[in-house]
Amino acid sequence: MRAVLTTLGAALAGYGAWLLLSRESSAQVREALTWLAASVILHDAVLSPVVIALGWFGGRLLPRWAAVGGAALVVLGPVTLIAIPVLGRFGADPTNPTLLGRDYWSGWLVIAVVTVIAACVGARWRELRSPRGRQQEGRVHGARARRRRRSHRA
């Protein structure tokens, strides 16, 4: 099974590489290779460290309720990246009103607000549902328990 997958994979990748290198001018091939290299570098050396740093500082410096922001970011981060081409309207054509014809900044704002509200509601609901949360509901010194948990984490 693994040998079949490896052989098939190598054959397909090889065919794709041959297509890539043989069907276009050398300048176009060079540009495509630049895109490939830039993809990895931008993800591994720029985006990932930024996200990891956000998680690291968020986990240590911000209060526990800010974890809601982390959950919202899992949705809002990728959706915002996906929105870059329309937010910047880079492909707009003045003669074609049927392309990029929406108010994208307002749309993004609505998504951001809905995501943050949903994350807060979700977090509150989970808190109420968990046995620890239910216990805390009836107690005045819930905050102390939370502090204790946080110091335990560190």
Partner: protein, 391 residues
């Protein structure tokens, strides 16, 4: 010397053990990866369908039924690619510590590691490039000098090939972790113990929500009922059927509005020269057919005009022949297209003169355009100037 030991450990470069979150586990990676694989498989299959539909000569003719086949498959193509973006980002976040693993010392293991790492580098590079260029292309942001179509096609094989190799390498781990509970720690790094605010199930749920949100807000801009929710979609129904190439872009405004406009129809040595009024003189038929773009949008319209096969019959051409359709355009892609015989003979294939009860607008192909069922939008030739029945 406790202090200096701490200082020394601070100075060592970050490695896999610098990451303590329980979320970074093979159990999570395999589950996200499974759906990522489904998305990539769907994108590959639907992409191949589109490339085949655009082949000028097809050993097995592309079917004319169902009329909505192309619009559904190409929406699936863009939707699966869009859904893959959040999933890929989550997947790469989960496995990031592995990037920092130190290479093994023995030569044999080192060679294997280089091969495996190399295949993963190719997979990540081609996957990100495919998703990014695809996303940009949908909003017509052409930030490159290469042919998008050729490069996207070639890299699709590279991506799927590297993905199959990746699955082959990881198969034992995948089998192990998919067979047990998501919270099990089999194959986890010993350091991945820290319970954060988010559980593994929570992260998976958020990943599905992110993928769903991306699809809903970006890809259903022309779907009735959902169009308004798709606030980030490059297209909408606000201006009717969207347009890719305008008459101004194609530089046909003068020729298309000229009183000298003629549509030339040829078969062998027969030659028919028709004005728009001549075309209106044929029996007019109305069919509801979509314009469906490879960019994932589609809108159906009520097209009215003579059947293509009726116009061809006026030259004495028999059925069962391919046809070459040329536009008034002087340059640009799809200026000349081949319409396969099964499309030519289909009773729903029209030389459309009107859309939704109004004469065709200039940007929709006035004086006459081709409209056929289940056909890529780019090949629904606008501003038709010549139709040649091929031998």
């Amino acid at each position: 010397m406790k202090v200096s030991a701490t200082a020394a450990s601070r100075l060592t470069p970050p490695g896999p053990d610098s990451f303590g979150s329980r979320l970074r586990s093979a159990a999570v990676a395999a589950r996200v990866g499974l759906w990522l694989g489904v998305c990539f498989g769907l994108a590959m299959a639907t992409g191949l369908i589109s490339h085949y539909a655009q082949q000028p000569s097809q050993p097995v003719p592309f079917p004319t039924h169902p009329a909505w086949g192309y619009r559904v498959t190409q929406w699936l193509h863009v939707a699966s690619g869009t859904a893959a973006i959040p999933l890929l980002l989550v997947k790469l976040w989960v496995v990031f510590p592995r990037l920092l693993e130190r290479p093994p010392r023995t030569l044999r293991r080192l060679a294997l590691t280089v091969l495996e790492r190399g295949s993963i580098a190719i997979l990540v590079a081609s996957a990100i490039t495919q998703l990014t260029t695809g996303l940009l292309n949908v909003s017509q942001w052409y930030a490159w000098g290469f042919s998008f179509r050729r490069t996207h096609y070639a890299l699709a094989f590279v991506t799927i090939g590297a993905l199959l190799i990746h699955i082959a390498v990881k198969l034992p781990v995948i089998r192990d972790v998919l067979g047990i509970d998501i919270d099990a720690t089999m194959h986890d790094r010993p350091s991945a113990r820290h319970h954060g605010a988010l559980s593994r199930r929570g992260l998976l749920r958020l990943s599905w929500i992110a993928a769903g949100t991306a699809v809903l807000t970006s890809t259903v801009g022309t779907m009735p009922g959902l169009s308004r929710l798709s606030v980030l979609a490059p297209r909408s129904r606000a201006e009717g059927i969207p347009i890719n190439r305008t008459a101004a872009d194609a530089q046909v405004t003068t020729t298309a509005t000229s009183p000298d406009y003629r549509c030339e129809v040829t078969y062998a040595d027969q030659r028919l020269v028709l004005t728009r009024d001549d075309l209106l003189g044929f029996t007019q038929h109305t069919h509801t057919l979509p314009i469906a773009c490879v960019e994932g949008w589609s809108v159906a319209g009520r097209w009215t005009g003579p059947r293509l096969r009726d116009v061809l019959a006026a030259t004495g051409a028999p059925p069962g022949r391919d046809v070459r359709v040329s536009s008034l355009q002087q340059h640009g892609g799809s200026r000349v297209t081949i319409l396969p015989a099964d499309f030519v003979d289909d009773e729903r294939t029209l030389l459309a003169l009107a859309l939704d009860g109004e004469p065709l607008s200039l940007d929709h192909g006035y004086p006459a355009r081709l409209i056929a069922p289940n056909r890529p939008g780019a090949l629904q030739t606008k501003w038709v100037a010549r139709i040649e029945v091929l031998g």
